[in-house]
Structure formats: structure tokens, C-alpha cells
Amino acid sequence: MNEQFRVGDELFRRAARVIPRGIYGTRGPWLVVPGSYPLFAERGRGARYRDADGNEYIDYLCGYGASILGYADPGVDAAARAADQSGFGFNHPTAAMVELAEFLTARIAGMDWALFGKNGSDATSFALQAARAHTGRRTVLKAAGAYHGSHPWATPGTAGLTAEDSAHVYDFTWNDHADLEALVTEHRHDLAAVIVTPYHHPLFDDSEFSERRFLQRLCELAHRHGALVISDDVRVGFRACLDGSHQVFDFAPDLTCYSKAMANGYPIAACLGRKPLYQAAGAVFATGTFWMQQGPMAAAMACIRRLEETGGVALMRQRGTELIDGLRQVAVRHGEQLHVSGLPSMPKVRFATEDDFLRFQRFCAAATRRGAYFHPFHNWFLSTAHSDEDIARTIDIADAALSEVVAEGE
């Protein structure tokens, strides 16, 4: 046992007795390096949080992208508290739902209606059903390796599933025009939708932007055959721009999905769509006991307004660029090269000289033990709360961590 994580380790042992795997899903220890990473958080503020042992981290995972303004943002928290103060869990939605739908449709380009859930999976699954309801077709295409949530049709897991769960869902290779065209042609008579992220950001692999107008071609093909395009903007949303990432990546989806950063960590997801899909969306049976809770809705409006007021997107881009530039210099000093892909505000980082993460994992673990939380496989996230001081401190930590890895050798 590493003394640095003694309390967290004990919590994990307790958890494992009563919770399958101790911590399930992507937050479980298997994706990081147990002994070098915290497993339980205690509190956070801004770009930093403390684990159950009181160790502090400058966070570059940001709650898997949810904390876009930093933890415990006073404005967002006050909005959520104020909304919930009058009670919640009512038989009905409150005015907050209408206000948020108006707020989002006024901002997200091309979208005329909105519907809410709690997690990204709620939004993507709803979008898929709405597309099927509208087209009367079954087939959905997605990019191989893309993550569209944990529901059975999309999950990368295998346990507890049947082949029927993902029947009618087929994969194409991102940026492979010929593969996409062949798949669309093959399924054109039953094609309900193509679901894509604004750029490809698979776990483990490098992020890839659309090349040779891939997304535009995808929309053209789908629409030509009467199918819809769903933009899964759950991860990128509000980090590339505030009016829908499709604006930045220049494609025209019919449905868009948001969650993660939209309320700075408060549980909410949204599916937005174009007017012609309004009837079909209404026909889909969609409900959840907590889906209309007003606190997260108020938090979403406060969060997006705050991003607007502070120029949050540009700020995160700038901080991300500073971080990556600094890390590149550190790497060069140690005879190493970084490979960085994706947006500067959510960079996917690895060592250029390896593709199996063996040394990069050690580097991330060494940095995390020293107080800069780097995930070895997932893309990182910046928030608007990351300060110049945080970035400078992170680069110092990275320097020390890389020294350790180099000293250890292979």
C-alpha cells in the first residue's frame, strides 16, 4: 500500500465488499495505475481538487470534461442552489425547463427544440430513437472506436449484452470516405441516421479532425438517402464554441447532443433538433424521474452565460496551448517527443515514440503522484479555472516526472 493513498485504498477495500468492482465503469482503477492515482475525491475548487487522503491535484481530467469552469464555481452553484431552494422532484417541470430550452435553441445553431435527460447516453439514445421515429428506418452508422455512451446499442462493453442490442448499428472508419460511402450505399434503404462526434476522439487512440471534408461528405451522403445526422457533442460541446461544435467543424447535423460541461458538473443532458423532427421527437417515449429537476437546468444557463461572459472557449484554448507548449519543451529536454492531437482545450497526449503507453503510463503516474492529474489513455481537459500559475506548476511537475521515467529507463 502506498501511504500517499492510504485512506483512499481503505475506502476502495470497503467499496469492493459491497459494490461490484469497488468502483465501476470508467472511474474504476483499472484504467489508471493503482498506487499512483487517487480513487476517491473529497473536495475541489477551481482547477484543483483533493483526494480522500488530502493530496491536491491540478486536474487535467476535470471530471471527464464536466468541470469546465472549475470545481465549485460560485456563480453556477448559487444558481443551482437558488433554483432548488424552492424544492424539487415535483410532479411537474418548472419554468426552468422552458427557459433552458429557449436559452439553448437561441444559441445552438440550427436547432429549434430541446429535450432533457441526465447523462450523455440519455441524449444520444434519445436522438437515435427520434431519428428512427422520423425516418421509419432502423440502421444507424457510427465511426469505429467512437464512444456514444453506455446504453446497450453503443456500449464498448460486452457483458450482459445480446447481439440484438446493437443490431442495425454498423461501424465505418473515420476519415475513410470510401468506407463510409460503401456503408451508406449498402444500407441506404434502411438508414435512419449517422451519428458522429465533431471530431474523432476515441479512448486510447489519437484524436482526428475531419479530413478532406469528411463530415460534410457524411452529411451530404446521409441526407441524399433520406437519413439524419446526429452530432454527439457530449464531450466537445462548449469547448470548441458555444453555439454547437458543428459551427466550428462546419457540418450540418439534424440532431445534437450535450451533457458533460453544459452545467459545470450538475447532472443534465440535452438533445436538440431541427423543426421537422419535432413531431417524431414528441412521439418517442422519453422520461426519467429526475430528468426535469430545475437545479441543473439553472446551473446550465449560469454555466453557459459565464463561458460567454469570460470568453471561456478562447481562454481554455490559450491555456491548453500553453500547457502543451510547455510539455513539449520539457519532453525535448529529456530527449522525448510528445504526440498531441485534438483541440488544445482537450488534448490527447502520448509519447511519439511508442504506441503501447508503457512509458507514457509511468510518466502520467509519476506526474499524478506529484500533483498534476494526467490520464494515461483518455484525452485531457482544460477548464477556464486553470491559471498561468497552474500551468507553470504543472510543467515543473512534468519535468520531475519525466526525469523519473528517464532515470528508470525501459
Binding site: 477495500r13 469492493a16 468492482r21 482503477p29 483499472w30 498506487g35 460486452t158 503501447d356
Partner: protein, 250 residues
């Protein structure tokens, strides 16, 4: 494949090859094969085959051998093979060298030593000073069984989707085994002679014993550091799926 066919493959291609290690580490097994220069072929009608080559005090398990074996044994069906391995309830028919009673008896004695390492409880193994060896042999069965299950699955057990690479599985301080994944096929190797893309390392024999005996949970062990994963974890996904299926058969 039927369950019996899969089990027959597992017993012949995952369990029987561990006689190599038993002969290497076990004095009683070494005494059995001392002076042998022989080969024993075992075949299951409508199923797998395996050949044990013994020379200079060493035993080597190979799927195909050259020439006629010193002793050839046939099991009438996969179900008969399963009965033989699980309960000694079926007797193989000698089709070659049945008169070589020393080999027949020797094979029986080797099987008993293998059974000891696979079945004896922890107290007995520790009392005999054979705990570590037994854990390593049981781990080898698991690693070989993963490859066999992939081979027996129509889709390679999902291995085709994970990409090519080398997976090292072992106990800290001992030579690991490797799984070589290439083109949707998985091969087990006792020689850790290639650079691993991902490693699974049990912190000590007790940690491995806990998982192998079904008393411990792999995911909890990962969280507590009793099992350490390093490298390209995506490659592990189908391996862990196959690993969880092994217990359905063995």
C-alpha cells in the same frame, strides 16, 4: 463447437502441456521420466491431439510430432476425453505401443503429479513447499486456456477487434507467460521472449492463488495493487473476456 469439444481442446492443449513444467520442477515426475527417450501421442476422435516428447529428462508438449509415437492413445470422443480428465472415467485405447507398460504406467504417474499441482489445497501445497510452483502451473493453464478458447470461438473470442500485440501475464519475480495476438489469433507461449505491449502482473503468488482459485475478484485485486496492469489496456479487453469464460469449462 459443443462444450465437450471445447473442454477436450482445453484439457489437451491447455492442461496437458503443463506436464512440461511439472517435469521441470517436480522430483517425483523427474524420476518417472528418467531414462526415457519416448513420445506419447494422445488423440481424441473428432477432436484435438497432443504429443508429449520426452528425452534427456525433459518433456515437451507439441501438437504435431514426427514419425510414429512410442505410445499412441485414442479417446473415443470428446466426451470420453472429458470423462477421462475429470473423473478418470474413460480409458484411452492404445493404438500404438500398448505393450510398453512402463510408458503407460509412467503417463499415469505423471498425470497424478499434474493433478497434485492443479488440485491440491493451499495448506498441503505450502506444507510440501510446492505452493509457488503450483500457482505458476495453474496460471499457465489459465493463459493457455485463453488461447485455446480463442481458437475454439468462431470470432477468435473477440481478439480480432483488439489489434495485434504481446500480452505478458505473470507473478512478480517469476518468468511471465505471453500471449501473442496477431491477425485475430492468439497463441500462448511459456517463453517471454518478446517485448510485451501490455503486462498483467500478480504482486505475489498469494494474489495469483486468490484469483485462480476463484476466491478473489480480479477487479478488486487491480484496485488494491495485488494485480498490476501496464501498457495498452485495450489489447486486454478480449483477453479478460476469455479469462472469465475459462471458469465455465475448467
Amino acid at each position: 463447437m459443443t462444450d465437450s469439444q471445447i473442454k477436450a481442446h482445453l484439457y489437451l492443449h491447455a492442461v496437458l502441456p503443463q506436464l512440461e513444467e511439472v517435469v521441470r520442477v517436480d522430483a517425483a515426475a523427474q524420476a518417472v521420466v528418467a531414462g526415457w527417450r519416448s513420445s506419447i501421442a494422445m488423440r481424441v476422435a473428432g477432436g484435438p491431439g497432443m504429443r508429449l516428447e520426452v528425452a534427456a529428462g525433459r518433456l515437451r508438449a507439441v501438437r504435431r510430432g514426427r514419425g510414429l509415437p512410442s505410445l499412441g492413445l485414442l479417446l473415443a470422443s470428446p466426451a470420453a476425453a472429458v470423462r477421462m480428465f475429470e473423473a478418470g472415467g474413460a480409458t484411452p485405447l492404445p493404438w500404438m505401443g500398448g505393450w510398453r507398460l512402463r510408458l503407460v504406467g509412467g503417463l499415469r504417474a505423471l498425470s497424478a503429479r499434474l493433478q497434485y499441482y492443479l488440485k491440491a489445497d493451499r495448506e498441503l501445497l505450502e506444507a510440501d513447499g510446492a505452493f509457488v510452483e503450483a500457482v505458476l502451473i495453474r496460471l499457465a493453464v489459465l493463459v493457455y486456456a485463453i488461447a485455446v478458447l480463442a481458437e475454439c470461438s468462431p470470432d477468435g473470442g473477440g481478439s480480432s477487434g483488439a489489434g495485434d500485440g504481446v500480452i505478458s501475464i505473470g507473478v512478480a519475480g517469476a518468468n511471465p507467460l505471453q500471449l501473442h495476438c496477431a491477425g485475430g489469433r492468439i497463441a500462448a507461449s511459456r517463453d517471454a521472449d518478446r517485448r510485451a505491449n501490455v503486462t498483467v502482473e500478480f504482486a505475489d503468488p498469494a494474489a495469483a492463488y486468490g484469483i485462480l482459485s476463484g476466491n478473489g475478484d480480479l477487479w478488486t485485486a487491480i484496485g488494491t495493487g495485488a494485480v498490476r496492469l501496464r501498457g495498452h489496456l485495450l489489447l486486454l479487453d478480449p483477453i479478460l473476456q476469455l479469462m472469465s469464460r475459462v471458469r465455465n469449462y475448467l
